[in-house]
């Protein structure tokens, strides 16, 4: 019994062993970690401030499925949810001098992480992705993001939100190399204390990124008879 427990524990440790991370390439978010444990992405009960909870309850009471879902309104999810999705849409990481660029198939979004900038510039306009700076240390990528557009219901955040991300490579066993993201959200306007989430990604080398255009329905409404318009068809 004791021996098998040791074997099990060392297997766990082995499966979780960090390795030199080559972050470039195509990754697929997954809900299941290397040893079968689930993500701890957005918490079931985040430490909401009472007034934030009241806003959330109001949002839920007036929820309109057509208008209030970011995906349905074709807007980017933005940070932090941008990195926490488990739908099967890949992302591609491209590393160039002083920069990491993340291209998301879902909603055709892009995120930039500046490795050659030590501090966030002053006077940033808030965007869906925010402004990200990062650095490598011991094969782990550390990223800090500010200036994210407020909103994000039902996972809300305010203008002072700061996100800290740490990415490391782990051996996913049969799943191959995996990427583990630990993300800490610190937002004094909405939460009483910082909290940390975890997301896993699997490496999908060779997968060609597809196109995703959310407004395709809108396009089709106006343009649904291409065959009738094209003489060579």
């Amino acid at each position: 019994m004791k021996r098998s427990l040791i074997a099990f524990t060392s297997a766990l440790l082995c499966a979780n062993a960090a390795f030199a991370l080559d972050i470039s390439g195509v990754w697929m978010p997954t809900a299941i970690g290397p040893t079968g444990e689930r993500n701890r992405a957005w918490p079931a009960t985040p430490p909401f401030r009472p007034e934030a909870l009241a806003q959330l309850e109001e949002y839920r009471a007036n929820y309109n499925a057509v208008e209030d879902d970011a995906g349905r309104s074709c807007l980017p999810y933005g940070m932090p949810v941008q990195m926490l999705g488990t739908a099967q849409y890949p992302l591609e990481v491209i590393e160039t001098d002083g920069r990491i660029t993340v291209l998301f198939e879902l909603h055709n979004d892009a995120r930039r992480i500046h490795l050659d900038t030590k501090a966030h510039p002053a006077g940033l306009l808030p965007t869906f992705m925010g402004h990200s700076i990062g650095y490598w240390q011991d094969d782990q990528l550390h990223v800090e993001t500010v200036a994210v557009r407020s909103g994000g219901m039902p996972r809300p955040h305010g203008p002072r939100m700061k996100l800290t991300e740490v990415y490391r490579g782990i051996d996913g066993g049969e799943s191959g190399p995996m990427l583990e993201l630990m993300m800490t959200l610190d937002d004094p306007d909405f939460y009483t204390e910082p909290f940390t989430m975890r997301q896993y990604f699997r490496r999908y080398d060779g997968l060609q990124m597809g196109e995703y255009f959310c407004s395709e329905d809108l396009w089709r409404l106006n343009y649904d008879n291409i065959d009738g318009e094209i003489p060579w068809r």
Binding site: S73, T127, L221
Partner: protein
């Protein structure tokens, strides 16, 4: 840490802005259109056929032919060159890893691009572009047989780098012979993108949703909610 291009290969990584005054028109003129090409051009209706009005991408080659001052961001590694067009959020990937086009590619907006370096010049060949896209803002259309050849030449000038694009289109359905045009881009400092594509969706999609909600409401009143399973 990352895959750098070989020493002698130019590095196009950075932000580029088209110089409208240095763009040339198509040659030869008059345009060598087939009768089918002429008829679809005559039938062009921007309110229905221009993807840009619907927050859709411009597609290849229209994305590289734009002359409005919207940045093109280029990311270059040894295996791939990626274009991100800020205006519509178009993304193009040009594979440099020696692969060929797929035998039976599925057409999409960006098409399938492969490229190689010849000295200071990047040569790109693109196939499989959807017939829903336009060649350029004039309303010129194309078939799925269209082939786009581009050369991007890096020129270093005293007042900064230039990227000179020569773009040639072959399409037996719309053109009796190839047509060619040129563009020039200048290198600019990287600026944080404005996420303009998202804001296009915000305006246009709102209008669509309002109409959609009215339609849904009518449907609900007429048929009850059971028929709305799986509705967006």
């Amino acid at each position: 840490m990352h895959a750098m291009a070989a020493d002698r290969t130019p590095d196009l990584t950075g932000s580029w802005l088209p110089i409208a005054t240095e763009a040339t028109g198509w040659s030869p003129q008059p345009m060598p259109l087939t009768s089918a090409g002429a008829s679809v051009l005559a039938a062009y209706d921007p309110n229905r056929n221009d993807s840009a009005l619907f927050c859709m991408p411009l597609g290849t080659p229209r994305n590289t032919l734009v002359t409005t001052p919207v940045p093109l961001e280029i990311l270059q590694t040894s295996k791939q060159i990626t274009f991100i067009f800020e205006g519509r959020g178009d993304v193009r990937r040009i594979f440099l890893d020696g692969r060929s086009h797929p035998e039976d590619p599925i057409a999409n907006w960006a098409g399938h691009s492969v490229g190689k370096w010849r000295g200071n010049t990047l040569e790109v060949d693109t196939v499989a572009m959807t017939e829903e896209s336009l060649v350029d803002g004039s309303g010129l259309r194309h078939s799925e047989q269209m082939q786009v050849s581009e050369t991007f030449e890096l020129a270093r000038q005293n007042d900064g780098d230039r990227l000179r694009l020569t773009l040639t289109i072959t399409d037996p359905s719309t053109l009796t012979k190839p047509i060619e045009t040129t563009r020039v881009f200048r290198r600019i400092p990287h600026a944080e993108p404005a996420e303009t594509a998202a804001y296009c969706l915000m305006d246009q999609w709102r209008q669509y949703l309002e109409q959609h909600n009215r339609d849904l409401g009518r449907q609900l009143r007429a048929t009850g909610p059971d028929h709305l399973e799986g509705e967006p």
